[in-house]
Symmetry: none
Subunit: 206 residues, 4 copies
Amino acid sequence: MSPPPTPATDTRSRILDAAARLFHEQGFNATGVSTILREAGVNPGSLYNLFPSKDALLAAVLERYTELLHPVVMAPVEARTSDPVERVFALLQQYREWFSPLDFRLGCPIGNLALEVADSHPEIRPLIKANFDGWIAYVRKWLDEAGDRLPADLDRDQLAGTVLTIMEGGLMQARSSRSAAAYDASVSQLRSYFDFLLTRGAARPG
Amino acid sequence: MSPPPTPATDTRSRILDAAARLFHEQGFNATGVSTILREAGVNPGSLYNLFPSKDALLAAVLERYTELLHPVVMAPVEARTSDPVERVFALLQQYREWFSPLDFRLGCPIGNLALEVADSHPEIRPLIKANFDGWIAYVRKWLDEAGDRLPADLDRDQLAGTVLTIMEGGLMQARSSRSAAAYDASVSQLRSYFDFLLTRGAARPG
Amino acid sequence: MSPPPTPATDTRSRILDAAARLFHEQGFNATGVSTILREAGVNPGSLYNLFPSKDALLAAVLERYTELLHPVVMAPVEARTSDPVERVFALLQQYREWFSPLDFRLGCPIGNLALEVADSHPEIRPLIKANFDGWIAYVRKWLDEAGDRLPADLDRDQLAGTVLTIMEGGLMQARSSRSAAAYDASVSQLRSYFDFLLTRGAARPG
Amino acid sequence: MSPPPTPATDTRSRILDAAARLFHEQGFNATGVSTILREAGVNPGSLYNLFPSKDALLAAVLERYTELLHPVVMAPVEARTSDPVERVFALLQQYREWFSPLDFRLGCPIGNLALEVADSHPEIRPLIKANFDGWIAYVRKWLDEAGDRLPADLDRDQLAGTVLTIMEGGLMQARSSRSAAAYDASVSQLRSYFDFLLTRGAARPG
DNA sequence: TATGAATGAGGGTTCATTCAT
DNA sequence: CATGAATGAACCCTCATTCAT
């Protein structure tokens, strides 16, 4: 199913790891190919054998993020929280735990790229959207699983998208202030909204 | 109060205008100083006479955004909408009207810079935060003006920050999908939350 | 005789002082006009009113060194040492005392310029030569004053030039090693040569 | 032992040759990297692939001078002169023959750099010192080979250093006057000193 | 396939100098 | 005479990428 772990595979992985890390830490434009080469311990020829361009490498990084969405982002949430509504907040809490030790540096790697390259790299934008769509789909699934605890007339797609909005918008502000407060504020208001929705869901006519 | 419109002032303005536009359109790192110079019709010595570095130019651009917050962003909203709660949504609607004709390209210039340079430019981060703080302060003022139409136990600072979160997070998704839907979704959920809050406010014990 | 101490004279002096110091500390090519302006607290227009170019400023600096040769370099030596032969070594000792506290940084300001600009600035070379000639003339005068203590067939011009050679060559090596040893070595050998010459002078036929 | 003459080696040599020549002709600061590139027929990326900076290129130039000290400077002297004392003056004569046709332009490439960059480039100074030390070591070796023709109590290290002092100081003056006279004067006085020393050596107690 | 030198356009910035006020 | 913005060539260096071995 997967290719054998040839040296080339190792090289490819090392490049992808280095590129993903550096794009996250420094941004796409601020990361030179030579830095990726150095950090991956690879020569330009090798990189350009495997990836036709820096843009193609970015595409591969985003594809990898798509693959990692479940094992890295969603599975841990589902493992430690079973209640579907609580999974929403466990997910938001997970980002807080990731970035709080860094004083909210770095931010969401997908969100960063969304704002940096969405306009300039038309071929990349769909890959960003795919990551967002996948993320939202998990939240949407949980909202579905909440069943009639949530109001029947609730637009669950909209709400799932709003959860991502809260995460990205909250993280942006936390990063700008180097403080959890802005993130926590938005999450707290979302919680308040969910409390209201759950009340309405519970109050449905029998 | 303001410096006289000497040639230098003109040059400074032309540089700031060009830089602000290009940073918005292409991002900070993707914008070369030479492009700014060409678009402003200025030569390098002039720019570096007025701004000690590209980073200092970025700082000046952000200070200008702070100055423009009221006349460009908030005053039009307050002019066309008098109800304080409706002003919140008029503000969000204004962004929609700005970016919808562009298929949600560009995005918020402050938000873009927040994700691109907050970590790499420590001296810039406070200027981004100042823009966010100023934006939030207007929303907070409107929430105050809503008085007891909103619940007494509502944390209005949190809610004001969440309005910015909705704008930034919604715009990010709209940009990634080139569609208003994601933005509208988050605004719509915020409206639903406000409806709930107004209901609770109205239901206060008399 | 001298112009009244107008502000312009002050400005001129401040510029010359700053330029002389910076050319000495950093060299001519490594010193930017803007640095001179900053250190002198002067605007470009002012400098270029008084000196038509950076090269002309260099010429003025060298003329000033010529003026300062007696009061700064030779007078102190003549004041503290009366024996003409000992004045030669007091002069060499004076350079040692100037540069030893600096670990032999900086070196001779004239010698530095001699090697840096003699070829590229034909109009400057004579000014350097004039400084060297003036310096040698003092030594030559002392050798004359030594009268028949030195051999009659000694070429005193040659010997005076050699004293400068010892100073410049010794300082160059001291600067390269950050140590007095190389300078002292050459001076010590010169002393040995003088001892021989004085012996021969004393042994002249009666 | 030496790397194969790959294209890279050729490029490296072309760059080093051009840089050494231009640094000698114009000085370090007055030589632009672009001039080196043009003269070497190389583009910037190539140079910076082989040398991390202009300063590193200067270091390599000085290392090359160290390598060339024997084949270019000392071997010819030893080839044409066998008497060790005469080798000292053959060496000084060789410099005269090199620079006399140029009217004593250019000067000693090491000496020039000593005065231009010793203070500003701490990593370069030891390389200059190494060149001087190597030069002096040859002279010192010849003085040793002169055995008891020279006085037993002579400090031969000091004298060897003084030979370099004479060369550098004499060349500096020759360059400033565009004339051999100043150089010849110092060499002549050194000859006179050597004559004295040889006399004293010969007069040792039997 | 791996290597690392070569490519050459472009990066941000400083240079000495001029000129309008 | 002072001011400081304007000039534009040149500064050193890095970029993403290609290519010969």
